[in-house]
């Protein structure tokens, strides 16, 4: 075997390969240069592969790289041998090397073929690029979504935070004391208003019992409120008392409602307390003022009552005591004429007549005064008065008293008023009697009764075309015993319009006159709804009782 090998490697017996080429320098050179360059190139390749393998540790077919390196180095060696054998005929070694190379090449080729399908599955760089781009895009989108999600989350958290802050601020800065407590009354929340109202700072009071804010006699109230809350009820604007840290009592209005957890279980109570001390004080002040006012009204009423009693006594005295002397004057002067007429001279009889006339006149004045004084007394009745019917009746009476007079009358139908029927009759009687009297000298006497609207008020009017009067004296018109005409023109005592005005005023109304001398006069009065006068009426009723 050794011999065989040494024979194979022996140079003896063969000619160098250059002989075959006749040592042609071109050929030999070309061979040598080419073989050496190939050898170098082939041996550089495994270096590149090794470098590749080192950098790409993930390359799956590392053994193939080894085989390829072996195969290509074997090939390179055969080319080196080719250059050597130009000069040294080591054909045995060359053949051996070639055989080895063939072995490695065939092995590599065999190993390579089954790899092809697997290798094909490996993505090509182009595919990889596309996939990569796809992946990049996806990543970008994901990132985008994540960013949006993050922003949304931040915004939501921000909003929630803000809302919480606002809610907390609403509670904290409320003007009402807002106190949270457990169902047994332990304080769990305490705002600034509570601090101001009760004087305890939050850290002093938290965890303590709400009962320390409640006066002893009100503790039962608090128990009741807490019991209501335990039953899920709210209690609104309950007025009670609290105690300040310094012991001062505070009037409070309390609204208490249950606090529930997410499951709806009642876990505590919120109590909103408002300091109503000022309002209470104001109420007390109002009560005091009212009492004072009532006292003053009572005093004034008593005074008025006294004054009214005096007036009553006065009217009574007038009615009784002033009439008797008149009757005596009138009576005895007539008795004198009747019993001793034959002894009296005519002139004496005339004088006695004057006494009679004067006493009758005074009797009328007294009667008129009594009517005036009565129109200021007595309870006002609330009647529905048919002014039209009343006027028609009074005019008919006047016509009957002087059937010879031709007076046209015109009464608007359906005139209705609220008032004391008897007093309104006095009013209408006076106004119509005046109209009747003062049209005595008119050519075509005319009396009209109607209603009109003025300044939003309904006015009832009695108009005539009689003597009228000068408006310059209008202010004296409604004063008692003031007359704008002489007795011989129009007889009268001047008490009628004073009575009329007094009655209208008692009804809360007003009366006005318009006139022109020789052209007539119109008297208009208002009668507001009686209910507006009920206060005055009831007071007057009181005087009467």
């Amino acid at each position: 075997m050794i011999d065989e090998l040494s024979r194979l490697l022996s140079v003896n017996g063969y000619l160098p390969h250059g002989y075959c080429l006749n040592w042609s320098p071109q050929l030999v050179l070309t061979y040598v240069v080419s073989d050496i360059l190939i050898f170098l190139a082939y041996f550089s390749m495994p270096l590149a592969l090794a470098y590749f393998a080192r950098r790409r540790k993930d390359f799956p077919y590392r053994w193939l790289l080894v085989m390829f390196a072996a195969f290509i180095m074997a090939c390179g060696t055969t080319h080196l041998m080719g250059a050597i054998i130009l000069w040294r005929p080591l054909y045995g070694l060359d053949a051996l090397l070639k055989a080895l190379t063939a072995l490695i090449s065939v092995g590599t080729a065999i190993a390579l073929w089954p790899l092809i399908p697997q290798a094909l599955k490996l993505p090509s760089p182009n595919q990889l690029r596309l996939m990569n781009e796809e992946l990049q895009k996806e990543i970008a989108e994901r990132k985008c979504a994540e960013e949006a999600l993050r922003l949304a989350k931040e915004a939501a958290e921000d909003g929630l935070q803000k809302e919480r802050t606002i809610r907390a601020a609403i509670v904290e800065f409320s003007e009402d004391a807002i106190v949270g407590k457990t169902l047994d009354g332990t304080i769990t929340s305490w705002n600034q208003a509570a601090e101001r109202m009760f004087g305890y700072r939050s850290e002093e009071i938290m965890g303590h019992s709400v009962f320390m804010l409640i006066p002893p006699e009100r503790q039962a109230d608090e128990e009741k409120l807490l019991a209501a809350v335990r039953h899920g009820e709210s209690v609104k604007l309950y007025e009670t008392e609290g105690v300040h840290k310094d012991g001062k009592r505070i009037a409070v209005s309390v609204t208490i409602s249950p606090i529930r957890d997410k499951e709806g279980l009642i876990i505590g109570a919120s109590k909103i307390a408002r300091d109503v001390s000022e309002r209470k004080q104001a109420e007390q002040e109002i009560r005091r003022l009212n009492t004072d006012l009532e006292r003053r009204v009572a005093e004034r009423t008593a005074e008025l009552l006294t004054a009214n009693h005096e007036l009553d006594s006065f009217s009574y005295a007038v009615s009784h005591d002033l009439r008797a002397p008149l009757r005596a004057m009138c009576g005895f002067s007539q008795a004198l004429v009747e019993d001793y007429g034959d002894q009296l001279q005519d002139e004496a009889k005339i004088y006695l007549d004057q006494i009679d006339i004067a006493s009758r006149k005074m009797g009328e004045l007294i009667d008129a005064l009594l009517v005036l004084s009565r129109s200021t007394r007595g309870e006002l009745q609330h009647d529905a008065v048919n002014i039209s019917a009343l006027a028609e009746r009074l005019l008919a009476e006047l016509r009957q008293s002087e059937p010879e007079r031709q007076v046209t009358v015109q009464v608007e139908a359906g005139l209705q008023a609220d008032g004391d029927a008897r007093m309104i009759e006095v009013v209408m009687h006076n106004l119509l009697a005046n109209a009747w009297k003062y049209t005595a000298h008119a050519k075509a006497p005319h009396i009209r009764v109607y209603a009109e609207q003025q300044d939003g008020a309904r006015r009832f009017c009695v108009a005539d075309n009689g003597a009228g009067f000068d408006m310059a004296h209008a202010n004296r018109l409604f004063q008692p015993f003031q007359r704008l005409h002489r007795q011989e023109e129009f007889p009268g005592i001047g008490i009628g319009l004073a009575t009329v005005q007094r009655i209208i005023q008692r009804h809360g109304g007003t009366i006005e006159a318009q006139a022109q001398p020789g052209k007539g006069a119109v008297f208009c009065f208002t009668l507001p709804d009686m209910c507006a006068n009920s206060v005055r009426d009831s007071k007057e009723a009181y005087y009467e009782s």
Binding site: Y316, S319, A328, D356
Partner: protein, 146 residues
């Protein structure tokens, strides 16, 4: 038959004179007794005080009673008359200057049989008094005696 009488209760002498004159003119003057205040009127009717031994056994046919009287007012006199069984049914006419509604109301409430206002006019007054006298003495039948 016992002569019927009138009791005039009047404090004003002039009114008294005028009333008596009017009654005289219808021939009723001898049958009029006069009391000048409320107390006296009650004494007369109850036969007390100065009237304890009043001759006439009969009560008057009518009492003409003024309201404005000294000591006891006419309304108080009326009240006491009505409260006493002896005079509860005695005809009483209120004759007064007053035309006060309250007086009229109280008079009737207290059981007056009539309310007459004294007219200021003399002629009217004389006629009224005469009519009253005649009516209560001649026309009216008194309540049955006990």
């Amino acid at each position: 038959m016992n002569p019927k009488t009138i009791l005039l209760v009047e404090d004003n002498p002039q009114d008294e004179m005028l009333t008596l004159r009017a009654l005289r003119r219808v021939n009723l003057i001898n049958r009029v007794d006069v009391a000048r205040d409320g107390r006296q009127a009650l004494d007369y009717l109850f036969r007390e005080g100065e009237f304890a031994d009043r001759e006439s056994p009969e009560q008057p046919a009518v009492v003409l009673l003024d309201i404005g009287l000294p000591r006891l007012s006419g309304l108080e006199v009326l009240e006491q008359l009505r409260a006493d069984a002896r005079t509860a049914l005695l005809p009483v006419v209120i004759l007064t200057s007053s035309d006060e509604e309250q007086d009229r109301l109280k008079s009737y409430k207290n059981g007056a049989n009539s309310f007459v206002r004294k007219p200021v006019d003399f002629t009217e007054f004389a006629e009224t008094v005469a009519r009253l006298g005649l009516y209560w003495l001649a026309t009216n039948e008194p309540p049955p005696g006990r």
